[in-house]
């Protein structure tokens, strides 16, 4: 295995709205509808939400590549420098060939979620729900874009990236978010954590991505995670 001698590096970036891929069909699908069965008022609201979302979105994301080698512990933990993550066996399995870990976080700000919440509680809950779903889709799509940037950077060193894994999913306790954020600059990308490890703004994604020449990316993560009770699997 080659080691390009990657040093500790932290990247913070702004992603433009037109760099991410969100369209009406994927939004309608994310709400459970088969496209043709979506009622007209919902379809119109989706189109309206996509037009209105752009000026309310401020996408800021970044990552830190830790300089230390990844060590796997028998207990289902992984260790990398000062981080000791109890990721569980599913994520540990996916990171077993990783040489380095990138810790990442990305947010779209709180303007859209605030607007969605006000509408949900007020006069137009349908639009509020659609805006909330739009915001969720935008942040996931923005995380895809950030992942792609990291993948391109890794390719320059002859390395690949794993899928991204977030505290709260695939058996990784959400409270470990505190360990992750402790390794990032304070208020990284404007994100803060509550005592119960929830991110603010809410429409944010954080986690780890493994890097190395022997790692693999799986387009269908449910194939390697056997959790039948995961809500993402049910969707």
């Amino acid at each position: 295995m080659n080691d390009p001698g990657i040093s500790d590096q932290t990247i913070e970036t702004v992603i433009a709205f037109d760099e991410i891929a969100v369209d009406a069909a994927s939004l309608i699908q994310s709400m459970g509808y088969i496209d043709s069965a979506c009622p007209e008022p919902v379809r119109l609201t989706v189109e309206e939400a996509l037009l209105e979302a752009a000026p309310h979105v401020d996408i800021r994301g970044g990552y830190r590549i830790l300089p230390d080698d990844v060590r796997l512990e028998n207990s289902g933990e992984i260790e990398c420098g000062a981080c000791r993550f109890k990721v569980g066996k599913v994520i540990k399995g996916q990171l077993r060939r990783a040489r380095r870990l990138a810790l990442f976080a990305i947010t779209i700000g709180d303007a859209l979620e605030t607007q969605a919440r006000d509408l949900l509680r007020g006069d137009d809950p349908v639009k509020g729900y659609v805006l909330d779903a739009t915001a969720s889709l935008i942040v996931e799509s923005a995380a895809d874009r950030l992942h792609e940037q990291l993948r391109n950077a890794a390719a320059e060193w002859g390395w690949k990236t794993t899928n991204r894994f977030s505290p709260g999913y695939c058996g990784w306790p959400v409270e470990q978010q505190h360990i992750l954020f402790a390794q990032l600059p304070a208020k990284f990308c404007g994100i803060t954590l509550s005592e119960t490890a929830l991110m603010h703004p809410i429409k944010s994604v954080s986690g780890v991505i493994g890097l190395g020449d022997g790692v693999a990316y799986h387009p269908y993560p449910c194939d390697f995670c056997n959790r039948q009770d995961c809500y993402k699997r049910k969707r």
């Binding site: 709400m31 459970g32 509808y33 009622p39 007209e40 008022p41 919902v42 609201t45 949900l120 809950p125 349908v126 729900y129 659609v130 909330d132 505290p167 709260g168 999913y169 058996g171 990784w172 306790p173 959400v174 409270e175 509550s194 119960t196 490890a197 929830l198 809410i202 959790r227 009770d229 995961c230 809500y231 049910k234």
Partner: protein, 224 residues
């Protein structure tokens, strides 16, 4: 009389708010839940009859469709909007009657979890079934649930979790409630849950969908 109540139920189920609402297209230009409720009142029906035999029936039907994957969150929200429009006409008539609610449900998403769509849907359907819902929001600690039980004597508690990793917090909260207030009924829901989990943590009812919660609460009020 039965006919207008049936029409009200259809308008709620299909999210037809009033005559001005262009949707659903096959009902365009026709009276909606609002006008039909006014007609029913003008014809001498009581607010209680309209609520129980019209509005609640419509919400029940959309709840059943949601359970069967024949309707999705926006459809339930449209139905709730139609019901709320009608309720604005009925509320002044109910104000004097504090006993119009079948009971109180204290509802919240457990600590460490901020997913609230499922909780909100359940709240709407249960409200639509005639219960008062005290919504505690998301990331609700055990202490906050216990305080709410004290503040709402005789209430039922509903809680939801969407993450497998916050189910542990749900377990802790249910056990604490059962220890502090054994008579308090607890209903739980959320995508990763199962009947087995609900039994293990000592919950009284597992709700795979909001309608199941409404049915369980109905059984409590029927037995009271």
């Amino acid at each position: 009389m039965d006919q207008v109540l049936g029409q009200i139920a259809v308008c709620v189920e299909r999210g037809k708010i009033n005559m001005a609402s262009p949707f659903p297209p096959d009902l365009a230009g026709q009276n909606g839940a609002e006008e039909l409720t006014q007609s029913a009142l003008d014809a001498g029906l009581s607010a209680e009859e309209i609520l129980n035999q019209g509005l609640i029936v419509g919400m029940q039907k959309i709840g059943e469709k949601f359970r069967n994957n024949e309707a999705f969150v926006p459809d339930v929200l449209l139905a709730a909007k139609a019901m709320n429009a009608a309720m604005k006409l009925l509320e002044p008539l109910f104000k004097a009657d504090a006993n119009r609610f079948k009971g109180t449900l204290v509802m919240g998403t457990v600590a460490g979890d901020l997913h609230d769509i499922g909780k909100n849907l359940a709240s709407m359907i249960i409200q639509g079934a005639g219960w008062k819902v005290v919504d505690m929001g998301v990331d609700v600690s055990t202490e906050k649930f216990l305080d709410a039980i004290k503040a709402n004597e005789g209430c039922v508690v509903g809680m939801s979790a969407l993450l497998t990793t916050t189910m542990a917090n749900m377990e802790q909260t249910v056990r604490a409630i059962k220890e502090a207030s054994p008579a308090t009924k607890v209903i739980v829901g959320g995508a990763p849950l199962s009947q087995e989990f609900a039994d293990k943590v000592g919950a009284d009812c597992y709700c795979p969908d909001p309608q199941r919660g409404a049915e369980f609460l109905e059984s409590l009020s029927a037995g009271a």
